[in-house]
């Protein structure tokens, strides 16, 4: 494995009108690593992902993917390189059944190139590959769930569908925006092994989470954002021991809960 980080973010700044949503945020993600990003509501986590993946234009800063400057590339080109993302507000194709949702990413140039779609040109192939991917991500193959309309699926499955859309592209890194939020304890418990499996498959992950306890179980490193600025970065223990983080999260039960747990 090379020493070069897979993703390097340098001095990313974003202003909305007069509001400074991100202030010179820099960080990197190593090959095959899970980086957690935490921070109070409105601290700019989603905005950071949007800037990296070009869903919104950053005011200044640079992003390098495998050493290549991608700051000026359009969103679909970035996804085409293998830098994928999920949406905090889930964006399935509601009018389609779950497995048909995957036909669309499987139609993309990247999926054709990487063989995410192994079909021989027949119409039905993308459907079966779609169901395979859904099974991988925790849809029970023999049940009716993969065939249900996305509009009728519960949150847990929609979160998985978000991940599945990324997996269809054979990604090198996935930026996950709160895949645990809105899930029950047992649903999260079944999601954690999936995340670990993705890492074992060599996919690097950036995970934005409010569920600190579960995040700290899987993350190699954690970065804290507050009011659009990077507070600190380090291992879970280092971050929790930091005074600045306690201040940012002052009064938050979650931190105390995690502290007692650690």
């Amino acid at each position: 494995m090379s020493d070069q980080p897979i993703l390097e973010v340098k001095d990313v700044t974003k202003t909305f009108g007069g509001i400074l949503a991100l202030n010179r945020v820099s960080f990197h993600v190593n090959e095959g690593e899970i980086l957690g990003i935490i921070g109070p509501n409105g601290s700019g986590k989603t905005t950071l992902i949007n800037c990296i993946t070009a869903f919104i234009k950053m005011t200044s800063g640079k992003v390098f993917f495998r050493g290549k400057d991608i700051s000026r590339k359009p969103a679909h080109k970035i996804a085409d390189m293998g830098l994928t993302r999920t949406f905090q507000i889930m964006r399935p194709y509601y009018s389609l059944p779950a497995y048909k949702n995957l036909v669309i990413p499987l139609f993309s140039p990247r999926a054709k190139r990487t063989g995410g779609w192994r079909g021989g040109g027949k119409l039905g192939d993308r459907n079966t590959v779609g169901i395979d991917i859904l099974e991988e991500i925790g849809f029970e193959r023999d049940s009716f769930v993969p065939y249900k309309m996305a509009s009728t699926l519960p949150t847990g499955y929609l979160k998985r569908l978000e991940l599945a859309r990324c997996l269809a592209l054979k990604p090198e890194i996935i930026l996950c925006d709160e895949v645990f939020s809105g899930l029950s304890m047992s649903e999260i418990a079944s999601m954690v092994p999936l995340i670990e499996r993705l890492q074992m498959d060599g996919i690097a992950l950036v995970m934005i989470e409010h569920r600190l306890r579960e995040l700290f179980r899987v993350a190699n490193r954690v970065m804290v954002l507050n009011f659009g600025e990077k507070l600190i970065e380090g291992t879970a223990d280092e971050v929790m021991a930091s005074k600045k983080v306690k201040e940012a999260y002052f009064g938050s039960e979650e931190v105390e809960e995690v502290m007692s747990y650690a």
Partner: protein
């Protein structure tokens, strides 16, 4: 003889209506470009025929493909934008084209291009246009059920997710605009060989408005419905020919009435009634 001509006109409007339905309900682009497509296709085929001596059955396919290319290029700048821009721009082009032809006195100016060859005979004309409508009708119905059609529908419903899947939404919109404008240009090309004349009236607003009215009447999003709508609307509008441009008022009244009273359209209504009767018979 007269009604034969009307059937040809129905077919040309049917091509436009299918093209409108495809763009509006499967890609999410509301097009007022019927007049643009007809005009570009018509003038191209007329030039090809009169200046280069191509026979109609060769000039028409060339005008269809080249015209679709030109229209797609003209509309390309507004494809990345969301909202009403596409509708506005597609409406502005035909108006602008008219003024340009008038002011610069090019392409025959206000007189138009005369001496365009007709189809070899009346039967070829009749069957050719009917065949084309059937071809595109079933072609488009097939298309929207292919994986490509699924992507087009995704562009309409959820363009952000399509971008996140590594696909350019502008590219897929351009593909759809190309297919749609090809249908319109084909209609225009046929029209000049039917009338043996190509003039500024090819850019008339009727070509943009009537297909929309027909789609609403026939049932939006059904592809077949719009053709049905044309079968009703065009003959009626022919009967009202004496009223001249006042016919636009007639389309508008029908449009408003249908939107207010039975917004689902004949096709959807018919399907529902059919299912009801089927159940009733079973009982």
């Amino acid at each position: 003889m007269y009604w034969q001509r009307v059937i040809s006109i129905v077919c040309i409007y049917a091509l436009l209506a299918v093209s409108f339905d495809l763009l509006a309900h499967f890609v999410g682009l509301v097009s007022l470009g019927g007049a643009l497509f007809i005009g570009v296709g018509g003038y191209l085929s007329a030039i090809m025929n009169t200046s280069f001596g191509f026979p109609p059955l060769l000039a028409i396919p060339i005008a269809t493909i080249a015209g679709a290319g030109i229209c797609t290029l003209l509309l390309l700048p507004c494809l990345p934008l969301r909202g009403v821009y596409f509708a506005i721009v597609s409406l502005m082009y035909p108006l602008a084209m008219c003024r340009v032809i008038e002011a610069l006195d090019i392409l025959g100016g206000t007189d138009g291009i005369m001496g365009v060859d007709s189809f070899p005979n009346r039967w070829v004309e009749q069957y050719f246009v009917i065949l084309m409508v059937l071809l595109f009708l079933f072609g488009v119905r097939r298309l929207v059920n292919l994986d490509l059609g699924l992507v087009l529908r995704a562009v309409k419903d959820n363009d952000q997710a399509v971008r996140a899947s590594g696909m350019s939404i502008t590219f897929y919109k351009a593909v759809a605009v190309f297919i749609s404008s090809a249908m319109g240009c084909l209609g225009g090309a046929c029209l000049v060989h039917i009338y043996m004349w190509s003039g500024m009236s090819l850019f008339a607003l009727d070509f943009s408005i009537l297909p929309i009215a027909a789609t609403v009447i026939g049932g939006a999003g059904t592809i077949v419905g719009p053709v049905l709508g044309c079968l009703i609307l065009v003959p009626v509008s022919e009967l009202l020919r004496e009223f001249g441009t006042l016919r636009i008022v007639f389309y508008s009244v029908i449009l408003v009435a249908f939107i207010v009273f039975r917004s689902e359209g004949i096709m959807v209504y018919g399907q529902r009634k059919y299912h009801q009767i089927e159940r009733w018979v079973k009982v």
